[in-house]
Amino acid sequence: MSVIAVGSTTVCAYDVLLPERGAAALLGDVQIALFRTHAGEVFAIGNQDPFSGANVMSRGIVGSRGEVPTVASPMFKQVFDLRTGVCLDDPEVVLPVYPVEVIEGQVVVAALSDGLARADGSARADGLARTR
C-alpha cells in the first residue's frame, strides 16, 4: 500500500486512534472504519457490516486469527481480515479495503478503495452482502 491514489484524505491524527479499537470516518459520503492494531499498523475497511447492513464495523473487537489481524462484526460476530476485507467465516463476502498511510502523524486514506476492492466494493457501498 505504498501507492496513494489521487484525492487522498487526511482523516485524523494517528494518536486519536486507540490501539485495537476502531473509529468510523467519512470519505465524502462513504463511511469507512479505521483500525490501529497492537503492532501499530493502520487499516481502513468499509464501515457497513455486510450481514446486517448497519454501519458498525468500526465498533468491532480487534484481534487476530492465526497471523491474520482481524475485526469481528459487533452485530453477528463474523470475523474479517483487516488486510483484505475478506470475511474469514464466509470467504464469499468481502468488505472494501482502502489504502491508508500514516504521514507525519496523520492518517491519510485514499478517497477510493483500491482496484480490487473498488470493483465490487463500490457496487456494494449501498447494499447488503453480495456474494461473488
Binding site: 485495537e20 497492537h38 468491532g60 473487537i61 484481534g63 487476530s64 486469527r65 452485530m75 460476530k77
Partner: protein
Amino acid sequence: TEPVPSSRRATMAELRRARHVVVVGGGMVAHRLVEALRQRDTGTSHRITVFAEEPRLPYDRVALTSYFSGRDPQDLSLGDPDLWNDPAVNLRKGVQVTAIDTTAKTVTTARGEQVAYDELVLATGSSAFIPPVKNNDAQGCFVYRTIDDVAALRVYVERLKSEGKQVNGVVVGGGLLGLEAAGALRALGAATKVVEFAPRLMPLQVDEGGGSALARLIEGLDVDVLTATQCQRVKLTSQGAARAMAVADGPDLPADVVVFATGVRPRDDLGRAAGLQLGERGGVVVDEACRTSVPGVWAIGEVACIEGRVWGLIAPGYTMAEIVADRLLGGEATFPGADTSTKLKLLGVDVASFGDAFGATEGALDIVYADPVAGVYKKLVLSDDARTLLGGILVGDASAYSGLRPMVGRELGADPAAFLLPEGAAPVQLELPDDAPVCSCNNVSAGTIRCAVRDEGCADVKSVCGRTKAGSSCGSCLPIVKNLVNAELTKAGVEVSKALCEHFTLSRAELFDVVRVTGLRTFSEIVERHGSGRGCDICKPVVGSILASLDPAGHVLEGERAALQDTNDHVMANLQKDGTYSVVPRIPGGEITPDGLITIGEVARDFGLYTKITGGQRVDLFGARIEQLPAIWKRLVDAGFESGHAYGKALRTVKSCVGSTWCRYGVQDSVGMAIALELRYRGLRSPHKLKLGVSGCARECAEARGKDVGVIATEKGWNLYVGGNGGMTPRHAELLASDLTDEELFRAVDRFLMYYIRTGDRLQRTSVWIRELEGGLDHVRDVVLNDSLGIAADLDAAMALHVDSYVDEWQATLNDPAKLARFVSFVNAPDQPDADLRYVVERNQP
C-alpha cells in the same frame, strides 16, 4: 441439542384401522409403554387409551420427595408432554377402571362407560401397605405414595406448625421409602424418628455393616433411628388425632404425625375379579413376555408377578413396558431378569446397592472397606476366584457406583480394592464392553452411547442423552455417560477441549484463577504469558469480565481494558439491529418516583427515542445514536439515574412485587429487599447476565423462581432459590436455604454469586453452571452455607471489594473528556449523524 425427530402424526384413516390398546393405570410404567409404542409404531397400527386414576399426567414417583425441596409438581413430569397431544394417544385423567370383561374384551369405568379393547395392559401399580397397627387410620396418619399423599402430609405438618407446635414425626419403616419420607418430614421441620422392624435400615438393599454406617450417618442429621422395634398402636388425643406411637419394649414415641412406609402391595383386584391367575403373594402372574393367563391381556410394572416375584422398582417396570411395546408390534422380547440396582441420595447420604449385594452366589467373596469416622462403608462381592464382580454395597460415598454397576458379571481387570479407596485416591479407568448396561432405567448400553457419538453425530452429553434417553430418568449414570462420550470423541479425533478460543487453551474458570493468582491486570500481559496472538471477540470480553471482577475499581473504558469490551460495554448501551443503541437507566427494585418517570419521558421525547417497558421493571429507550449517548446520560445522571448495565454480562435487575408495604398478603418488605440487593450487586460483572427477583410472599408475584437468584419472603425471613432463568430453556430456581435473616441472605447470595463468577463458563447461566458442577446444587449449598471448600472468607472479601468500589460508570465517563471522545459518529465529523438512519413514526412513536 439435536431435537429428537417427532414422529409423523397419524391420519384419521390410520386411526380407524388401528388396533385399540387400553392401558389401565397412568403411572411411570404406563408412560413408558405409551412412549415406546408411539416411538416404534411408525405406521400407527395401534392407538392407545390410558385410564389414569390420578387427575394428572404421569409423573416421576421416584422423585416425589423433591416436592418438599420447593420444586413444582410440574417438575416431576416425565418425558415430552407432547406425547399426550398425539392423536393416537388418549389419556383419560381421573378415570378409574372398575371392571374387566375378558370375554367381551371391554373395560368398565367408574362412570359406567364400557370401552372395547383389542389388547389390554394392566399397569395399576401398587398401593401402600399399612401394617396392622391399631388406629393406623387416625388423623395424622399418612402413607407416602402419590403427590396427593405427599401434599396432604405437608399441609398437615404446616398446619400443626402454624399453631406454634413443635411437630414430632414417626416414620414406620426404615427402607428406601421410609428414609425418603423421613427426609421429607425433616425438610418440613418436624423432629423425625424412623422405626424399623428389621435389625437394620434398608434391609433389602444393604447388609449389616452398611445398615449401621447408614444409621450413623442419618443420626448425624438429627433423624433418630430405632431398629428391631415393633410399632403397636397409635395413641390418640381427645380429638382423635395421633399423639404418640406405642412400641414393644420401650417408652411411647411422641408422634403428631405418623407416616407408614412399610412397603407396597400390588393392586391386582381387577385381575382377580376377571379371573386372571395371581401369584401366591399377590400380583398378576405373567410369563417372560408379560402375557397374563388370558390371551390379549398383559400386565407390567408393580402389579405384575414375573418369575414368581413382584418388583417394586422402576427399572424392571420399564423393562416390562418395553417388552409389551415390542410384542404388540410383533417382536420377540423377553424379560432378562430384574436389575435391582439402586443408587439414592437419602437425606443427603449416598446409598447404592447393586447385583448380588448380599453375596448369595456360592463361593462369593467379600471385600469390605469401612471408615466409621468418615462415615463410609463399601463392599464388593466377587466370584470365588476374586476376579468377577458380582455386586456391591456403597454407603456414604457412592461415587464408584456408576463405574462399577455396568461391570457386574464381568472381570474387573484391576485390583478390586482400588475401587473402594476414598474418592480420588485411585482413579480407576474401566473400559466398558459395548453390551454393558449404562443406564438401567432406560436400558441403554455402552455400545449405544458410543454409537450415538461415532455414527449419529452427537458431540456432547446433552445430545447423546436426548438421542439415547440415557440418564433421562434417575440420572445416576450421567458421570459414566460423560466419560464414554468424551472417550469416544477423543478416539474420533475430536479434541474435547475446554479451551476458550484459539488464543487460550484454558477454560474461563482456569483463566480466572490464573489472573487472580498471578495478579496480571492487562490483556497484553495475560495473553503474552498464558495465551497467544492478540485475542478475539471471545476471549477479550472474557478477560474484560475477569478483570472487572478482580479489580472492580477499574473503569470499563480505562486504558487497555477498553479494547476488550464488546461494543455494548464499550459504549455502555445496547446495540440494536440498525447500529443505534438502547438506553436503560437503573430503577432499583422497579421503584420509581413520578419525577423520575417524568425525566425519562422528557429525555425520550427530546431525543426522539422509542420507549418500551421491559420485563425487568424498567424503561428501555431505543434509537439513540452513538454520538447522542453522552447528552442523554448527562440528563439522566443529573436527575439521579445510574447505568442499568442492561448492556453487560452483569447484574441486570432485581424484580420485585410490592410486598408488605401495600399488599394484603405480603409478609416482608420485598421492594426494600430488592432495592438493597440491587444496590449491593449493581455493576457486578459475571459469566452471563444475572437477574434477581424478590417476592413478598409465597404467591410469588415477582416470579423470582424464574431468576438466577430468587428470594421469597416467609413468616420468618427469606427463602433463597438459585439457578432459575427464562429464555429459550426456562428453568425454575431451586431452594438453596430457608428462613434466612437479611444478613444471612446477603452472605449466601454474596458467596453464591462470587463462586459462580469465579467458576462459571463463558456465557453459562447459573442453571447450567449448577447442573454441570460436580455435586450440583448440594455442592453449591455446601460451599455457600458450610464453607466446604474453605473459600468462603475469600468470596466474602471479593464481594465486599465489589460493593465498596462501585461507582456509576456513566457518571465516571461524563467526568472524563478522554472517555467522552469515543462517543462520536465519525472521527472527522464528530456530530454528523449516520445518514442511513431514518425512522418513520408507528403507533405514535419513532
